[in-house]
């Protein structure tokens, strides 16, 4: 079974986002960019499936600017076999991404597509579910455990009240939650090896998908700032404050 893993290049999660003064967005010039953390988990899960003999080939896909090649090389260094970059300078939205991925799924015929549950830049949490809808496949979202057996995949999902387990007919979509696994670091030899793994470059036009955004961002601002309040010296002072607030009697 082939596994497809879509990965997005985003602002590194350790970097504090800065809103541009002109209100046009978040400043991405000269800041560290990395693979979306949930997508690292997706790549790791695919590799584990391959190590278990369930997956035969792992194809990483990214839609974005030329630099997304770096993100794909990271996926290859972790253990993906091959990569596809669908290159565009347009900031494609989840709906367009899902349409491109649906076309790639048609060509590649994967048994499983593992995505992150959300990209930590736009926090959309949409692409996997949209892709599942377009393909007419099942969607095991927010996964903290994935078990493939025969023609089904059983997914333990992190839901509001705790955990829910559902099973899905293959082929299916899985989106990862944080506790699914801990992604490995790529070793130096594997980073070297990744340089010669195949990476094909395509364009949205090759798949007949229009990536013109449906949403227009009118402005981006910083949220209201909270300021530090007071420090109390001891528990008695804290108790007094809580009483004054009516929180404690």
């Amino acid at each position: 079974m082939k596994v497809l893993v879509p990965v997005k290049r985003v602002l590194d999660y350790n970097v504090k986002p800065r809103v541009k003064a002109d209100g046009s967005g978040v400043d991405l010039a000269n800041v560290k960019m990395s693979m979306n953390p949930f997508d690292e988990i997706a790549v790791e899960e695919a590799i584990r499936l391959k190590e278990k003999g369930v997956a035969t080939e792992i194809v990483a896909v990214s839609i974005g600017e030329a630099k997304a090649q770096e993100t794909l090389r990271t996926a290859l260094a972790m253990g993906a076999d091959r990569a596809i970059l669908v290159q565009t300078d347009e900031k494609a939205e989840p709906l367009a991404i899902a349409k491109i991925l649906a076309k790639i799924a048609g060509e590649e015929q994967p048994g499983l597509i593992i995505l992150g549950k959300q990209a930590i830049d736009d926090d959309n949490n949409q692409t996997g579910q949209m892709l599942a809808g377009l393909l007419g496949w099942g969607q095991g979202t927010f996964a903290s455990k994935v078990e493939v057996s025969g023609e089904t995949v059983k997914v333990t999902r992190e839901v509001d009240g705790g955990l829910e387990t559902d099973s899905f007919k293959l082929p299916a979509i899985v989106t990862t939650d944080l506790r699914l696994n801990e992604p490995r670091y790529a070793s130096l030899p594997n980073i070297m090896k990744a340089k010669s793994k195949p990476l094909g470059v395509k364009s949205p036009g090759d798949y007949g998908v229009d990536v013109t955004p449906r949403l227009t961002t009118l402005k981006v601002v910083e949220p209201p700032k909270r300021t530090a309040g007071v420090k109390v010296a001891d528990v008695d002072e804290l108790v007094a404050k809580l009483k004054a607030m009516g929180v404690a009697k």
């Binding site: 930590i120 599942a132 955990l163 420090k231």
Partner: protein
């Protein structure tokens, strides 16, 4: 504009998150509801009483019993022929279903809205709430998820919606519900608690978490939350997690105990009315957002606090 609000319920009662979604939808136009589930007559009757609600569409079928997106999305897509906006609380079920509906309708979803600025314009948080974007959609139909903490709850009583049964679109045969582990707790639910006590990595283990955080929470009648580090380390279950990728909360009082204040954690609680932080490191970032800070060893000060309350 005619909106269709997806009712989040547990088979017996309407969940609070629905009420915030109703408020958001009422800013767009007429509010209709969809109650999908199995044996949901009582839920539908309860939903019909929500203030300001028009029609309540009820789809009662085993296929909808566990809100599986594969079965619910086609039902919604059909109902959307006569509605202009699908409005969904940003709960885990809502986030699972809405984008699948959006794809079926060829609409770009607007996730997690904080406000309605106009019929096609909304604000929403990006980058873990470090930026707020105002976005305008070109799509004729809208699919929207609503951040519960950003909208007042509609009154649960006072309405008189007309209940109408809709035909089931059936089981698509793609997915099966296998089971669930839903934590039962006497404490208030995180997303509606007035006071929350949250513990972090500093608690060191599950025993300490229970012995130190819970008595304080019980004294205050508070809900219990946690940082991701505490959840990852297995001190508490996943549904305790507050943050960018966990629950978004905005209680009257949020007490962070042994939590450093990473941006991903702040994303989930920085709209709380009053933030109280207890941390032994006076330079911990949590103090930059805390209204009241106490520098000290939690193993000493929290039991003392619990005892003195």
């Amino acid at each position: 504009m005619k909106t269709l609000v997806w009712v989040e319920h547990d088979g017996a009662t309407v969940k609070d998150a629905t009420l915030s979604a109703v408020t958001a939808a009422s800013k767009l136009g007429e509010v209709h509801l969809l109650v999908a589930g199995q044996g949901v007559g009582a839920v539908a009757e309860q939903a019909a009483k929500i203030a300001g609600v028009g029609k309540v569409h009820v789809a009662d079928d085993a296929a909808f019993a566990h809100a599986l997106a594969e079965n619910v999305a086609p039902l919604v897509a059909e109902l959307m022929a006569s509605h202009d906006a699908f409005v969904v609380p940003a709960t885990s079920n809502g986030k699972n279903v809405a984008p699948r509906v959006a794809a079926l309708l060829d609409v770009m979803q607007i996730s997690d809205i904080l406000s309605v600025e106009g019929p096609d314009t909304f604000t929403r948080p990006i980058y873990a709430g470090n930026a707020i974007a105002t976005v305008q959609t070109k799509d004729a139909k809208k699919v929207i998820t609503v951040r519960g903490t950003a909208f007042e709850k509609a009154a649960p009583e006072g309405g008189s919606g007309a209940i109408e049964a809709v035909a089931s679109t059936g089981d698509k045969g793609l997915s099966t519900f296998e089971g669930q582990e839903i934590a039962k707790s006497e404490r208030p639910e995180l997303t509606s608690a007035k006071i929350i006590v949250s513990g972090g990595r500093a608690l060191q283990n599950s025993e300490n978490f229970h012995a130190i955080i819970e008595p304080l929470a019980d004294k205050l009648g508070a809900g219990v939350g946690a940082s991701r580090a505490a959840v990852d380390a297995g001190y508490v279950p996943n549904d305790y997690q507050v943050g960018q990728t966990g629950k978004i909360v905005a209680p009257e009082v949020y007490i962070a105990v042994g939590i450093s204040g990473a941006i991903q954690h702040l994303a989930g609680m920085k709209d709380s009315k009053t933030i109280i932080a207890i941390n032994k490191d006076e330079d911990a970032p949590i103090f930059q957002v805390a209204d009241i800070g106490l520098v000290g060893d939690l193993f000493k000060v929290v039991p003392e606090l619990t005892q003195k309350l």
